[in-house]
């Protein structure tokens, strides 16, 4: 649930509760005030009745005035406590029974004593309470509606900068060129948030590009000492007095240097790909490129007695020849390296997809992890960067790459973007 919805819900609940409590208190208060008023009217009527009894020598008659209705009963009691009470009032004119309020008291006129009961209708008070209640209810409903609308629209409007910030954070790319915009907002908190994020993103970007520059420089700097090591070895092996076992050691040193070199080159290439620095796109016939690679890897495939079956359709793509070469090299060498003796390699190329399928034993690698740096099978002699390179090259050209293992086959499929 969104914050504004939470807020609306809470504020509506509290408003309803407060208004409801208020309405109850209001109702009783009005009732109380109205009853008091009635009681005052009744005392007035009582004094009038007293006056009437005193001035009328005859037996006081029951009378029914406009509003009050008085009954006189002769009594012998000496004292009587005045009492107000709710009762029923019979309206003769309307000929119906209504709620009423009555007072009873003792009236003395000389030695005559009467118990008098004066009743008035509560009808007018009741309608007053009804009208007030109705107005209150309408007010409550109106207030709730206004609250709801305000919360919905004004609050959402207030939160708009937050959502635009959120969108920017979601699309934030540490390697990208786009800077965080750090818009200022009318709301102080959002302005503060944006400037905090701006500073953070700038710092992150700076650190990241420093790190990349450092990696690139370090990788380049490493090449010269490696070159020195190789040329020294090249000179050393000219020495005819070296024993075969010493020469075998030197071969291993060569292999290590070669591996460091290739690791370094792969890292450099990854950095270039991250920065999208390789921009020598040209039109490439993928079919021809794949056929050329089949020729090139023929020897290696034959050493494992692999059968390469290809179904290739003409497919033109626009990409860097250099990168496509690396892509195909990695796909081929993986398909051969992770294959079985007398295995198969199926290569399918059509307008939508390039699929490499090769027999092999299952690797205990999760499909999502296989493209990560330095993820490789136990027995792999590779650098662990090949598929990462493949993936990053695919990413540069918006190709979709997938790996799965099915029916004892490793399947890598590259889906080309739809031409719009």
């Amino acid at each position: 649930m969104k914050l504004s919805a939470h807020y609306t819900k809470a504020s509506l609940l509290i408003s309803v509760a407060v208004l409801f409590a208020g309405a109850v208190i209001y109702f009783f208060a009005i009732n109380y005030i109205a009853t008091n008023q009635l009681d005052r009217n009744l005392s007035q009527a009582l004094s009038e009745a007293e006056e009437y009894v005193r001035t009328t020598p005859a037996e006081p008659q029951q009378y029914d005035l406009d509003q009050d209705h008085a009954v006189f009963l002769k009594t012998d009691r000496q004292a009587f406590k005045r009492r107000y009470f709710d009762t029923v009032y019979h309206n003769f004119r309307e000929n119906r029974t209504e709620a009423g309020r009555a007072v009873e008291d003792l009236i003395k006129a000389g030695n005559r004593r009467y118990k008098v009961i004066i009743t008035v209708s509560r009808e007018s008070t009741r309608s007053l309470v009804e009208i007030i209640s109705l107005i209150t209810v309408v007010l409550i409903a109106g207030l709730l509606l206004v609250l709801f609308i305000t919360n919905k629209y004004i609050l959402n409007g207030l939160w708009r900068p937050f959502y635009s910030t959120l969108r920017e954070i979601k699309t934030f790319d540490v390697a990208g060129k786009a800077q965080f915009s750090a818009k200022s907002s009318k709301v102080e908190e959002f302005t503060e948030l944006n400037s905090a994020i701006y500073e953070m993103s700038a710092r992150v970007k700076a650190e990241y590009s420093d790190l990349k520059a450092f990696t690139e420089t370090a990788s380049h700097e490493l090449m010269t000492p490696l070159a020195v090591a190789i040329t020294k070895l090249d000179t050393l092996i000219q020495d005819e007095t070296l024993r075969p076992d010493q020469l075998t050691q030197i071969t291993d040193i060569y292999a290590s240097i070669n591996k460091s070199t290739r690791l370094n080159q792969a890292l450099l290439l990854l950095i270039k790909l991250d920065n999208e620095l390789i921009r020598d796109d040209e039109s490439i016939n993928l079919k021809a490129a794949v056929l050329e690679k089949i020729m090139q890897f023929h020897e290696l495939a034959q050493s494992k007695h692999l059968v390469i079956v290809s179904r290739l359709a003409d497919k033109e793509i626009v990409a860097s020849k250099y990168l496509i070469d690396i892509l195909l090299n990695n796909l081929f060498s993986n398909a051969i390296r992770h294959n079985l003796q007398f295995g198969n390699i199926d290569i399918d190329l059509n307008a939508n997809q390039l699929v490499f399928k090769n027999t092999g034993s299952p690797v205990n690698l999760i499909a999502e992890q296989i493209f990560k740096r330095f993820q490789k099978g136990k027995d792999s002699q590779g650098l662990g960067l090949g598929l990462t390179l493949v993936k990053n090259i695919c990413r540069q050209y918006r190709f979709d790459i997938n790996y799965r293992f099915a029916d004892d086959n490793h399947i890598v499929s590259i889906t080309f973007p739809k031409i719009s």
């Binding site: 010269t224 040329t231 071969t251």
Partner: protein, 225 residues
């Protein structure tokens, strides 16, 4: 052949100079841009080996200098950077080839010979070694005036060995030369053996002596008697 090596790393410079200073080649070296420009103005070289990253400036300055002076030196660039930009930039302003560090001395020599051959193709399109004659334009090989059919890899290997005759060449260097960095080297050692065996057989069948000697544990040597 007269060669100038412009390289600031002393370890590299000495090894390169020593390795190239054979077969009647004269190899001189210098460590910075200033000396290099003086040398190039005063002397005539056949080949220049140029490191792009020099302490006192960009190696491309040397290329500009050669171009302005209309010098005919073949230039082979060596650089730690394999950046595509550098490569294109170098080749566009007059370099003949580009070699990325690290490299084997045998590779350097072979490339140097190749750029030199390309520069002097008009006068020198045939490479002759005893009874072996290679036409680098037609990519054909004759032994005792008799044509020998070689595969592409065997042909490349023969040129490579001829450029480095009398030197022990490691299997690693041969693998890198023939396959670049397409595959793991360990995979290729068996193929090298096969290719060498075939090449040796073809040359000997045509009447050449056995030039190829195996150096146990490390590689091969093309022995010039």
């Amino acid at each position: 052949m007269k060669i100038l090596v412009i390289e600031d790393e002393p370890g590299l410079r000495e090894n390169i100079t020593t390795y190239l200073n054979t077969d009647g080649n004269i190899c001189e070296s210098c460590a910075d841009l200033e000396t290099a420009l003086v040398r190039l103005t005063d002397h005539q070289y056949d080949c220049v080996l140029l490191d792009i990253g020099l302490p006192d400036g960009d190696g491309f300055t040397v290329l500009d200098h050669l171009k302005v002076d209309r010098k005919m030196e073949a230039v082979l660039i060596i650089s730690a950077r394999n950046s595509l930009d550098d490569r294109l930039k170098g080749l566009n302003i007059g370099a003949d080839d580009y070699l990325t560090k690290p490299f084997h001395l045998a590779e350097l020599k072979a490339r140097l010979m190749a750029v030199f051959r390309r520069k002097t193709l008009n006068t020198n399109s045939k490479l002759v070694f005893n009874e072996i004659v290679i036409d680098v334009l037609a990519r054909s090989v004759e032994v005792n005036a008799e044509s020998v059919i070689l595969t592409k890899k065997e042909y490349d290997m023969l040129l490579y060995f001829l450029a480095n005759k009398g030197r022990v060449i490691s299997k690693n260097a041969i693998a890198e030369h023939l396959w670049r960095d397409e595959m793991d080297m360990q995979d290729n050692f068996d193929f090298i053996y096969t290719h060498i065996k075939n090449l040796r057989r073809k040359l000997m069948d045509a009447g050449a002596p056995d030039y190829l000697r195996s150096v146990y544990g490390i590689g091969y040597k093309f022995v010039a008697p």
